[in-house]
């Protein structure tokens, strides 16, 4: 389906990442946003609050992030595409109802413009310390999808992808920006509505008497009925059967939760997305994402000038993690170098997938600034010397 022209601001713009994300959401068909102010994410909802009244969308500033996320899950059950926007401290509060969204299989998008943590941390300064929280933050076992843009243009483009993935897999999709991408202003080209592919909410064609909200008739994803269409369905955050009724048993837990994992893990090859360059004969591969990918690119150029064969793997979808590709590369490269603005999070996944077959170097940064490219270059050179 093509985008609703009402939500698409076609043209070339000079936008920051936060505004571009907001435009991406509106282009994707999002018409309900609930949020609570928090730096450095607030510009996303400010943009939406100004534009929504012109396109039949409702923005509500809730009393806190607990309420914002709950309202988003509620709104999504009306069939509306719904989103909330926050940063670290608010992301922590949203974990409760992100778990509910995962359990009820509710499509929605959660934007986290990352700042330095823990706790209140560095409200106005960059961090990438929420990437594990995005995957594991709510209790119990579940899967999400997480995307991470490196520029305002990608903030626009990938927000649309985030909504499409949320619809396709009936999951909460985490949109992990960082303060730098959120606040940097660059050229953003917004296409014509006819050139934007959006996945609408697929509604069941079954009559109410034949519909069960969690029945699987092939595939791994149940059909959806929205509130108010006469289906009179029930859904719950409790472990439930195909009728959406609570069943407190180990057997039901297995069938209910296992599918939440399978529907993402089993389709990971189609969801995983990365950009790869110069890895064919590389001795060293840099793995980076978000703003750090842009800093890493400079470091890679410098290292190449000094003769190191270095490749680049830029992560676009963080979760599910590109396990297969990392495993393949681990057999042919001497080392992975993983810079990130935290004390080593995604590097744990790289290590796990590398399985000891090559070196894995973590290039940490506590937040508040991006890496000095020379620090990454130094690690590439050191790893390259060992590999060669």
């Amino acid at each position: 389906m093509k985008a609703d022209p009402a939500g698409v601001l076609t043209g070339a713009h000079y936008l920051d990442g936060d505004f571009a994300c907001g435009e991406g959401a509106m282009a994707a068909g999002c018409r309900f946003v609930a949020g609570y102010p928090i730096t450095p994410s607030t510009e996303v909802v400010e943009r939406i609050a100004r534009r929504f009244p012109l396109m039949g969308g409702t923005f509500i500033q809730m009393e806190d992030e607990l309420a914002s996320m709950a309202a988003v899950v509620g709104a999504s059950w009306t069939g509306s595409k719904a989103m909330t926007v926050t940063s670290g401290p608010g992301f922590s509060l949203m974990m409760e109802n992100i778990g509910l969204a995962a359990m009820m299989e509710t499509p929605c998008v959660v934007v986290d413009v990352q700042r330095g943590g823990p706790s209140t941390g560095l409200p106005t300064m960059v961090g990438q310390g929420d990437v594990m929280q995005a995957r594991w933050g709510s209790h119990g076992d579940y899967e999400v999808i997480a995307l991470t843009p490196q520029s305002p243009q990608e903030a626009f483009d990938l927000t649309i992808d985030a909504f499409n993935l949320a619809e396709r897999y009936r999951v909460p999709v985490m949109f992990l920006m960082d303060e730098c991408v959120g606040h940097m202003t660059e050229r953003v080209v917004i296409p014509e509505p006819g050139a934007i592919e959006v996945v609408p909410r697929a509604l069941t064609a079954k009559p109410p008497a034949e519909f069960e909200p969690y029945r699987i008739d092939g595939g791994t994803i149940p059909e959806f009925a929205r509130a108010g269409d006469g289906y009179r369905f029930h859904t719950t955050g409790l472990t439930h059967d195909e009728r959406g009724y609570p069943v407190m048993s180990a057997g039901c837990q297995e069938s209910c939760v296992r599918r939440l994992l399978d529907k993402i893990q089993g389709d990971a090859d189609r969801i995983v997305r990365f950009e790869e360059e110069g890895t064919d004969d590389a001795d060293v591969v840099v793995v980076a994402y978000g703003i750090t990918a842009r800093v890493a690119r400079l470091a890679i150029e410098q290292a190449r000038r000094q003769g190191v064969k270095v490749g680049f793997l830029r992560l676009i979808v963080l979760w599910p993690f590109p396990e297969k590709r990392i495993r393949e590369l681990a057999g042919s490269v001497g080392a992975f170098v993983v810079p990130e603005i935290n004390y080593g999070q995604i590097v744990l996944e790289v290590e796990r997938c590398a399985g000891g077959r090559c070196d894995v170097v973590s290039v940490t940064h506590g937040g508040g600034a991006v890496h000095d490219p020379a620090k990454i270059t130094g690690e590439i050179l050191a790893a390259g010397a060992v590999a060669a």
């Binding site: 389906m1 609703d4 009402a6 939500g7 068909g29 018409r31 309900f32 609930a34 009244p53 012109l54 396109m55 039949g56 969308g57 409702t58 509500i60 809730m62 009393e63 806190d64 607990l66 309420a67 914002s68 709950a70 309202a71 988003v72 899950v73 509620g74 709104a75 999504s76 059950w77 009306t78 069939g79 509306s80 595409k81 719904a82 409760e96 109802n97 778990g99 509910l100 609408p200 909410r201 929205r226 509130a227 108010g228 269409d229 006469g230 289906y231 009179r232 369905f233 029930h234 859904t235 719950t236 955050g237 409790l238 009724y245 609570p246």
Partner: protein, 302 residues
């Protein structure tokens, strides 16, 4: 002349006639989880009856619950039903209502869920006059977790976490709602069947933030810890000691341990809801450029 003897009739229907409330319930889920003597069941019955009498389109009616004994109500009503997270029924319901404005949304939950963990959402939804009917069952205790102290536990009453009696002042729930901006505020006990049903029927037809508090016994925990007898003893006590005072000043509705409970309708005001205020405001400021959310939902559903 033959006379049919008692005990010899053979014309029984194969199935007993349907219970009048059955069309509103998920009968396949009965029996329910509530204890014998619990007051929640009568409230479900009153709500179902009121729904039927109100004439609302049941296909457009949703019920949202939080967590706890009362929070299980959404699972038994044959409406679009959402059993959500602890304390978050009101914000979930807010999203549901704003996402599809034509829905009739009822929140059905307990005192701990709505005024403890969910207290912030309660006052803000009242402040906004969000178009929600909130049925709050007050049994003075956290029932499902084992009888812990609630924000509504009367002074001196025992709970499992106040084994020597409660010393924390409780909320006066109708006053909390009224002073936060609720458009409709009423209170009954779970044995005021006809009055409660009538009130719920009226409240369904009003708009804005509507609170109906229902006092109910918890025989398993609150009554046992406080030696108050059976569930029926509790219901009768609350009912028989109720003082009906419509229009009472909500400041005077605090509940003391085993004292008379003031019941009635305290607030019934016509005032614009959140959505009406939004539409009116944007319509005035933006004129023809304003595009309200369609009653049937956003974008593809509009």
């Amino acid at each position: 002349m033959s006379v049919a003897k008692v005990g010899t009739r053979t014309d029984f229907p194969a199935e007993p006639p349907e219970h009048p409330t059955a069309p509103y319930l998920r009968m396949e889920r009965i029996p329910h989880v509530w204890c014998p003597g619990c007051g929640i069941g009568t409230v479900v019955q009153c709500y179902a009856t009121a729904l039927g009498r109100s004439g609302v389109d049941l296909d457009k009616a949703s019920v949202v619950s939080g967590i706890g004994c009362s929070g299980r109500a959404a699972g038994y009503l044959k409406l679009d039903g959402f059993h959500t997270t602890h304390g978050r029924a009101i914000p979930f319901a807010t999203g549901l209502k704003l996402g599809r404005p034509e829905l009739q949304v009822t929140v059905f939950s307990g005192d701990g869920d709505l005024t403890g963990i969910g207290g912030n959402h309660f006052i803000h939804a009242a402040r906004r006059n969000m178009d929600l009917l909130v049925i709050l069952i007050n049994n003075f205790i956290y029932g499902m977790t084992g009888g812990q102290n609630a924000p509504t536990t009367p002074l001196s009453a025992r709970s499992s976490t106040m084994p020597f009696g409660n010393f924390e002042p409780p909320f006066n729930v109708p006053h909390l709602a009224a002073s936060s901006g609720a458009a409709y505020v009423a209170r009954w006990t779970c044995l005021h069947i006809r009055r409660l049903t009538w009130t719920l029927e009226e409240a369904i037809q009003r708009r804005g933030f509507r609170l109906v508090e229902v006092i109910a016994p918890c025989p398993t925990l609150y009554s046992r810890l406080n030696k108050l007898g059976t569930g029926l003893d509790g219901m009768s006590f609350y009912h028989d000691n109720a003082v009906i005072r419509h229009g009472a000043d909500t400041r005077e509705l605090a509940i003391d341990f085993q004292k008379g409970i003031v019941c009635g309708k305290f607030v019934d005001e016509e005032k614009p809801t959140f959505s009406e205020l939004m539409d009116e405001h944007y319509g005035r400021v933006l004129g023809e450029k304003y595009v309200p959310m369609p009653a049937s939902g956003g974008w593809q559903h509009g």
